[in-house]
């Protein structure tokens, strides 16, 4: 049907991709102190499309349209802005460079479009500058680099819109005041600066992977964005390093499980109960591929260890064929490198598989009072599971009850309620 082909189509995620590129290009021309101005110009350009295209249709070349409008808006702003003068040529040049990157062709995997411009790379390093507080770094990166709205960021981090906006504004002010350069850090600074970037991407991914509110078990958009950027970094020469591949591998393995993590009615399925034939083979392949590249050299990071553990799960057909002794060994290394109650909790689950539920419970005892997990539902929930397996339903019920007092998404809540009901039922049965 030739008629249908003649209607211009919008490539998936076109706006997100191009807005990231345009913000980066404009930040270079305006200077890092005018990051906010760059974002406003791009937002205005997209808004013009939003106002016009519903009536006039999508233009034959939507990308060219967006760049033309953004350029005109930028030049217009320059005319009115007394602090930035003589940047007209810089605007034209950097936008035309970004536009040619977009013209270079559609990415092979539209879902991950694995290419970022050099300016985008600089923008990531700018937003993840270690002088910016960690929370602000994450908020700024999610907004400026990943194109999330303030409302979406507030939702993901259980915060208010105003609080997130303030965080972002403060970060922008700091960038302006300290005159941070727009650059990929020099080689001697790169490893440390890259660590700060990876931490932001890792936290963003985890935030998406374990949504704490609402019906959604996973905020796939957040995970996908974090994975996309990590993949981009892994594919860019200055940041193509083992540690980046290790993080990309870990994210891919996690993503592969998503189809099995929720059943047909939207309910949570635990790792042990998941139908592993549902694990996404494309993500698994990519996960193993990145793991190979992560193994170059002698570097061992927390991402390496977590990716290797995830690879063990991916290689096993189920929990009964998992090499738990090796997994516990890796958790021991991970704990040594990064002592954290969350890691210790995950290790306890592996210990329970290896040595039985009592040993798992004992391992949890050490971290039960740690303030970092005071509100974390997964700790009492794990205790509840292990206590149920030991046929101690009264204590199990107490643990599930405690878990329900923590913050979790609706599907997790329903899951915990079912486990609680089962424990109570068993408690009644054995007391008769």
């Amino acid at each position: 049907m030739p008629d249908e082909r003649s209607i211009p189509q919008l490539v998936d995620h076109l706006f997100r991709r191009e807005s990231g590129r345009m913000v980066a290009a404009l930040t270079r021309s305006f200077g890092t102190g005018h990051l906010q101005l760059a974002e406003e110009v791009v937002q205005d350009a997209l808004l013009q499309a939003l106002r016009r295209w519903p009536f006039h249709g999508v233009p034959d070349n939507p990308v060219a349209w967006l760049y033309r409008v953004a350029r005109n808006l930028a030049l217009d702003r320059l005319r009115r802005h007394t602090l930035i003068r003589g940047k007209e040529d810089a605007v034209r040049e950097s936008l035309s460079l970004a536009a040619s990157a977009s013209r270079a062709g559609a990415p092979p995997d539209a879902r991950l479009d694995g290419e970022i411009t050099d300016d985008q790379l600089r923008l990531i390093f700018l937003c993840c500058h270690p002088s910016i507080s960690r929370d602000a770094r994450i908020a700024l990166t999610l907004k400026t680099v990943m194109g999330l709205s303030v409302g979406e960021i507030a939702g993901a981090f259980l915060s208010k819109d105003t609080a997130i906006s303030q965080r972002i504004t403060r970060a922008q002010r700091l960038i302006r005041k300290r005159k941070f350069p727009f650059e990929v850090p020099p080689p001697d600074e790169l490893p440390a600066r890259l660590d700060a970037v990876l931490e932001v991407l890792y936290l963003a991914f985890n935030e998406g992977y374990s949504a704490f509110e609402g019906e959604q078990l996973v905020r796939v958009d957040l995970c996908a964005e974090a994975l996309r950027l990590t993949t981009c970094l892994a594919g860019s020469p200055p940041t193509d390093r083992p540690v980046v591949h290790a993080l990309a591998s870990l994210m891919r393995f996690q993503m592969s499980r998503l189809p099995a993590r929720v059943d047909s009615s939207g309910e949570l399925v635990r790792l042990a109960d998941q139908d592993r034939s549902l694990w996404d083979p494309a993500h698994l392949r990519a996960g193993f591929g990145h793991l190979d590249l992560a193994a170059r050299g002698s570097e061992q990071s927390v991402y390496h260890l977590q990716a290797i553990i995830a690879a063990h799960h991916a290689s096993a057909t189920g929990t009964e064929t998992t090499d738990w002794a090796t997994v516990v060994g890796y958790f021991d290394q991970l704990l040594e490198m990064h002592p954290s109650p969350i890691v210790a909790l995950n290790r306890a689950v592996a210990v329970a598989h290896l040595h039985g539920p009592s040993a798992g419970l004992e391992a949890i005892e050490d971290i039960r009072d740690h303030p970092a997990v005071a509100d974390y539902y997964l700790l009492p929930a794990t205790r509840g599971e292990l206590l149920s397996r030991l046929d101690r339903p009264f204590q199990a019920a107490e643990a599930f009850q405690e878990a329900l007092e923590g913050r979790c998404s609706a599907p997790v809540r329903r899951f915990l309620e079912r486990r609680l009901a089962k424990a109570k039922e068993r408690a009644v049965a054995i007391s008769h």
């Binding site: 706006f15 997100r16 997209l46 939003l50 009536f55 249709g57 709205s149």
Partner: protein
């Protein structure tokens, strides 16, 4: 068969705080609706009106006053229109029901008087 004007009031706007991804989503909804009208051979044309810079002219007893406006702050500002072929108001209403604009603003349907 008559031509009906779908007058779209105020919008889409109020989108200052949505992500690029969501903006594209909104455009795609309008596009899908517009494309479906076109494929069904119902669409006569559509246009957006410029938000600002209008003129309001009023005449009384030979005196004409000309003022700027209406402005986009005005509640009842027509943002644009679709002209659609339909057999009746009932059909026109059915066609308009799929318009995403109904999530954001008012849509008014008026038949073009063809009884010359």
């Amino acid at each position: 068969m008559a031509t009906y004007m779908f007058l779209l009031y105020n919008g889409p706007d109020d989108f200052d705080n949505i992500s690029p991804e969501d903006m594209q989503g909104v455009i795609e909804r309008y596009k899908a609706w517009g494309d479906s009208l076109e494929k069904a051979g119902k669409l006569v044309g559509s246009n957006k009106l410029v938000d600002e810079e209008g003129r309001v002219m009023r005449g009384r007893g030979g005196n004409i006053t000309i003022t700027d406006g209406p402005f986009s702050e005005t509640k009842e500002l027509i943002g644009g229109y679709f002209a659609v072929n339909a057999a009746s108001y009932e059909e026109a209403v059915e066609l308009a029901k799929g318009c995403p604009h109904l999530d954001y603003g008012t849509l008014e349907i008026r038949a073009i008087d063809e009884d010359h």
